[in-house]
């Protein structure tokens, strides 16, 4: 067990380096010239050249280069684009990845976007990260609350109207895409209840401890909308796992000892039924991260997802690249934690 965790921990940096190389390659090698991409058609050759020089796009791509001569020559480069990008990400005072862009970019509203793109990524992250993190956490809590109890009830009373209702609603909630559900909530909220979602300017994240009401107003509906799909998955899985577990001998023993139903179900059965649920939560974290991009766009929350999207529309390749790497690292780390939790929850699992 301990060796397994240590091995996975040691593997994590290797995966992260691989992921960063891949991210870099996707964005820097496939599309061609990043200077032309950032600049678009509006730029003259001189501007493109200057931009390329300024942002170090003439440097070699990777710090290690391989010449396919006989024998192959491996040489180390001092200054490379990949190395500098990663170094800038890691070293906080050099985090101004987008800082160097000073020429006006085409296709954007000069009023806000340029200043926004000149804000250092670090600055952006400081007030956008809490939004996304809180959205994820509240969503997870809602998903568990809405998923597990109906799943258990539906499993211990199969065939009843309660079971039927929770099964039907789970398949419906599962199928309605979260961004459409968000639009429905906002639209019919405003038509029927004269309610519009609160609009928050960039950087006005309200800490829960400072102003709980505003914070709840901001996060309640987005989290609920994002949570119902996940809750449906959890409910269906809890139900089938519970049905399986309730057939075991030890449950029959518990019944025959005369234990109360509550004890049998919630203490004896649910504990074992939750093991597969944990795995699925791990698998769903990726969906949740993607869902954050969608929901932040629907409810106009200024989180990381919206930031990535704005950067894509602005064609700010460097920001997109860094954020995509960030998403991947969060996802990989979360999966590692879930795997460890899984091994810890279920002593029957042995990782050799």
């Amino acid at each position: 067990m301990r060796e397994y965790i240590i091995r996975r921990m040691l593997l994590l940096p290797v995966i992260m380096i691989g992921v960063s190389v891949l991210t870099f390659s996707i964005f820097r090698i496939i599309p061609g010239d990043a200077a032309v991409l950032t600049c678009g058609f509006a730029c003259t050759d001189e501007v493109v050249d200057a931009l390329r020089e300024e942002r170090g796009l003439n440097d070699p791509l990777f710090p290690v280069s391989l010449d396919f001569t006989d024998p192959p020559i491996v040489s180390l480069q001092g200054d490379s684009q990949y190395g500098n990008w990663l170094w800038n990400l890691i070293k906080p005072q050099f985090r101004q990845i987008v800082g160097p862009i000073e020429i006006p970019l085409p296709n954007l509203d000069p009023g806000q976007s340029i200043t926004e793109s000149e804000l250092p990524v670090e600055e952006e992250l400081r007030h956008r990260l809490p939004v996304t993190v809180e959205l994820m956490i509240v969503t997870m809590v809602f998903a568990l609350l809405l998923g597990i109890p109906p799943g258990v009830i539906s499993a211990i009373r199969p065939g009843t109207i309660l079971d039927w209702v929770s099964r039907m609603s789970s398949v419906v909630w599962l199928s309605v895409p979260n961004f459409f559900l968000g639009i429905l909530v906002i639209t019919f909220g405003s038509i029927w209840f004269d309610w519009t979602p609160p609009q928050f300017a960039s950087g006005s994240y309200v800490n829960f401890w400072e102003d709980p009401l505003t914070n709840i107003e901001e996060f309640l509906l987005p989290s609920l909308v994002l949570a119902v799909g996940l809750a449906a998955v959890i409910m269906r899985l809890t139900r089938s796992a519970m049905l399986e577990v309730m057939r075991n001998d030890y449950i029959r023993t518990a019944w025959s000892k005369g234990l109360r139903e509550r004890t049998v179900v919630w203490r004896h059965a649910l504990k074992n039924a939750l093991i597969p649920v944990v795995t699925v939560i791990g698998l769903q974290i990726g969906g949740l991260l993607g869902g954050a991009v969608l929901i932040e766009s629907v409810f106009n929350l200024n989180g990381i997802g919206k930031y990535v999207l704005e950067a894509i529309v602005r064609r700010d390749i460097f920001v997109v690249m860094s954020m995509v790497l960030g998403f991947a690292i969060v996802y990989v780390t979360a999966n590692l934690l879930v795997d460890i939790a899984y091994a810890w929850l279920d002593p029957r699992i042995h990782y050799a």
Partner: protein, 422 residues
């Protein structure tokens, strides 16, 4: 004594006839009404998509006008006239018509009204509404203004959107686009995934390591984020990848990049390729697992012992055995691909707006209209999207019930890995 031997009686074998295909289908549908409902959703929506040019009442990107005839001009008018007569007038003061190229408003001042003939004075002015006269025999037939944001009615069951486009027609054409993107991306993804899965599983060793580490790295990205990254890269109009796709597709495109009646097909294709790559990653991993156990079979060893080459074994002996799995994976990935396309288009990165895509119809302007109370342009495409995913989920549940005997006997559906979601 005569031994009595029972005479062979001519017995009609009373075997119950094997129920016909249709009857069995009906039986299954009765057993699994939700599955039947799901199948109906899929068939209706995809059927509408395939037959879009026949079924859709209007052109999805053509302004709908209030086609009601509002009157006939008694005689031809020139652009300079400012008094004229309209026969059988259903129009009145305040409405706007077009004379020549100029918009004019019918003034409040009515000169005379005899029977249903209206003599009217016009005022030159600005107005949003446009009326189009066009020549017919004795005079001009007046047609109404662009039918913007009109709520659901008999002539437009789903209403019209801000451009006067019929939402029903757009929803129907959206089904074709979803179907197309689903099929292209799933076939690209499944074939790539099956190729690398079989290769990696059968060859093992260094090939396996390289392919699997690559798959590992791609799986490290959340699916939607990976998709956004791929589409940012290959979707950009200046990128070399986009240009390569342009060249590749140019033979099958007609007119302004139109294919099968769908404009801006290159954008759709780019989105499909992006989704296809994401599908391939998942497929390769699963197929590899199946191949690993498959290649331990004796017949593979036998094939190898008679000197069959590796490509031959993979193609003739391995691939047919995973083909069924490939088809199943395809049916699982199809709704996911459709959802992914909608999500991407909703974010404004996928299929561009004038092309009728369910996801794009949920975004930007339609969303703002919805906020102001005009909910129909965004609602119906979203409903269609939800129904198709619902259909696949219900069919999937029913299929699992039918194929897993442990679940029979009233315990019903709702298990497995949880169904299709993004």
């Amino acid at each position: 004594m005569v031994k009595e031997v029972a005479a062979p009686i001519d017995v009609q074998e009373a075997a119950t006839p094997r129920p016909g295909r249709w009857r069995r289908g009906a039986f299954l549908a009765r057993q699994h009404p939700l599955g039947a409902f799901g199948l109906l959703c899929i068939l209706v929506l995809f059927g509408a998509g395939v037959l879009a040019d026949v079924v859709a009442p209007y052109n999805p990107t053509e302004e709908s006008r209030l086609t009601r005839q509002v009157g006939i001009l008694a005689e031809a008018v020139s652009a300079d006239d400012n008094v004229f007569t309209i026969d059988q007038a259903e129009t009145g003061p305040g409405s706007t018509i077009l004379i020549g190229e100029e918009k004019v408003r019918l003034s409040d001042f009515i000169h005379s009204e005899v029977g249903d003939t209206l003599v009217i004075e016009v005022v030159r002015g600005e107005d949003d509404t446009v009326a189009v006269p066009h020549e017919s025999g004795e005079g001009f037939e007046l047609r109404g203004a662009v039918d913007q944001l009109s709520p659901p009615s008999l002539s437009h069951p789903f209403g019209t959107d801000r451009s006067g486009w019929d939402v029903l027609s757009r929803t129907i054409w959206g089904a074709r686009i979803s179907l197309l993107i689903g099929l292209v991306s799933v076939s690209v993804g499944i074939s790539l995934g099956a190729f690398f899965g079989v290769l990696s599983g059968y060859m093992g060793g260094i090939v396996d390591s390289i392919v699997q580490r690559f798959v590992d790295m791609l799986l490290a990205f959340p699916a939607l984020v990976l998709l956004l990254a791929i589409i940012t890269v290959i979707g950009d109009e200046d990128s070399s990848a986009r240009k390569a796709i342009d060249d590749l597709l140019s033979p099958i495109l007609t007119g302004q990049g139109t294919f099968w009646g769908i404009p801006a097909f290159v954008d759709i294709f780019v989105v499909s390729i992006g989704i296809g790559v994401a599908v391939a990653v998942g497929t390769a991993r699963i197929i590899r697992g199946a191949v690993l156990s498959l290649k331990e079979n004796v017949y593979i060893e036998a094939a190898r012992s008679i000197g069959a080459s590796s490509p031959r074994i993979m193609w003739v002996h391995i691939f047919p055995n995973v083909a069924a799995l490939v088809v199943v994976l395809g049916s699982i990935f199809l709704p996911i691909a459709i959802l992914a396309e909608s999500a991407i288009s909703f974010l404004g990165v996928g299929v561009p707006y004038p092309t009728p895509s369910w996801g794009a119809d949920l975004s930007e302007q339609n969303r703002e209209n919805a906020l102001q109370g005009d909910w129909w342009p965004a609602f119906f495409p979203g409903l269609a999207l939800s129904l198709i995913v619902l259909g696949f989920n219900m069919v999937g549940d029913a299929f699992r019930d039918i194929s897993d005997p442990r679940l029979r006997g009233g315990q019903g559906s709702g298990g497995g890995r949880g169904g299709v979601s993004l």
